[in-house]
Symmetry: C2
Subunit: 253 residues, 2 copies
């Protein structure tokens, strides 16, 4: 299951705030042996959102969007998704029910059925948002799927925790592509020396088990191996073999 | 001048580290009345980098890349850019000179002319990296431009400060599209109430001067107006008019 993230918001591209949802989604996916394939950040404009959707749907099975579901005029995510898919936006009783429940939970008066929150692109499901007001959304699109959440990090987090796996876990053969990332931090040796002098065959040995990466940090060099497997037992056996390679190498954690 | 950012690195998509360069670039551009149009984060793989370059070059005049210039096998940015543009990678004396100077500055021995740092895609210029080892890169591509920097935030920052404006300020009519973002924080009134009850015409009044956005934060609602102008005087006159609208509104900072 290839998953892409579309982050929608001028405030991120203008540097007013840092996005927190890419990392949140990555870490959530990793817990479930899934991974994020790509992420695109665009402005709150239909053209930009269309470009992001087109690009992500060209390679991903699932597109998650973050942001632009709020009540103000710069929140155009629903409209842009609807126009991208050629769908109309209609009043939806189910969205009204989610919205009014959210407002009641926070003891805030709800404007009623005229409110934008009650309108959904055709074929979209409204999802309860347990930490905010705007309903989250879910739909199929040409055999692929889209999940749309609010950009506020705590609301995006609750979308993942409350809905993501329920919505998607039976849609794709998840178990056929379990993923785990193993990171070993080695200290006091520069990156080039590790792979050039200390253990020139380390990279290739690890590559037989998964995709290798090297990340110099101020604390040391993080050598990562991303392993894939069809089942949990195979995953844990590969993990042991990765750790055994380090045990037999001059490059030590 | 439309500017896009391509962030290259598994470590970001896997949630191991947060990207810091989108915000660095945004804030740098804002200082110079420029803006970031879009940002894409991809894995360290040729296909993913190609998709990112294709998408950004379809709408931007300048593509800035961050990451993947290091010495290890997962650093494939140069190769991917070269194959995307149909250019060969050759030994380049200028890159060797930049690299050896960087190693000397840090008193580290340099492997010599065989080192990957001495190889550049055809037509690329090597730029000094005042805070790291890997030379940064610059080239023209089909009437547009590409600037490639290391992903380490301090190295990316020095690329911007040392080179960005020198490389690009005469390439596009920068002065014809000065941009400034004005943000006013209003407190204690929910977003919907501001634009629904307190001053229903505020959004439209501000929209005559620029692109309006609204961002609820824990400290209050940030109302932003992005104004554009052809010259500094026009920019500052528009800014005064934005502030005057707030002075005459019931919505106060």
């Amino acid at each position: 299951m290839k998953i892409g993230l579309l982050i929608i918001g001028n405030e991120i591209l203008e540097g007013k705030i840092n996005d927190a949802n890419l990392r949140q989604l990555s870490l959530f996916l990793r817990q479930h042996h899934l991974e994020l394939s790509a992420s695109i950040t665009v402005t709150d404009s239909e053209d930009a959102i269309h470009l992001g959707l087109k690009t992500l749907f060209s390679t991903c099975d699932v597109v998650v969007t973050s942001g632009g579901l709020g009540p103000t005029k710069d929140d155009v995510t629903k409209e842009a998704i609807a126009s991208f898919m050629g769908r109309k936006i209609n009043y939806a009783e189910a969205a009204y029910e989610v919205a009014i429940k959210n407002y009641e939970r926070f003891s805030r008066p709800f404007a009623g059925k005229e409110h934008g929150y009650c309108f959904l692109p055709e074929g979209f499901v409204a999802l309860n948002n347990s930490t905010g007001f705007a309903p989250a959304l879910f739909a199929e699109h040409s055999g692929k799927y889209i999940v749309c959440g609010a950009g506020v990090p705590k609301e995006f987090k609750s979308l993942l925790e409350d809905h993501f796996l329920n919505l998607l876990q039976n849609k794709f053969p998840v178990s056929s592509e379990l993923i785990e990332s193993i990171t070993v931090r080695t200290k006091r040796i520069p990156e080039e020396k590790i792979f050039g002098e200390v253990d020139p065959s380390l990279w290739d040995k690890l590559s037989h088990l998964g995709s290798v990466s090297s990340l110099p940090t101020t604390m040391g060099v993080d050598i990562g191996v991303k392993i894939k497997a069809h089942e949990l037992q195979e995953l844990s056996s590969k993990k042991e073999r990765v750790l055994a390679i380090f045990e037999n190498s001059a490059v030590k954690p």
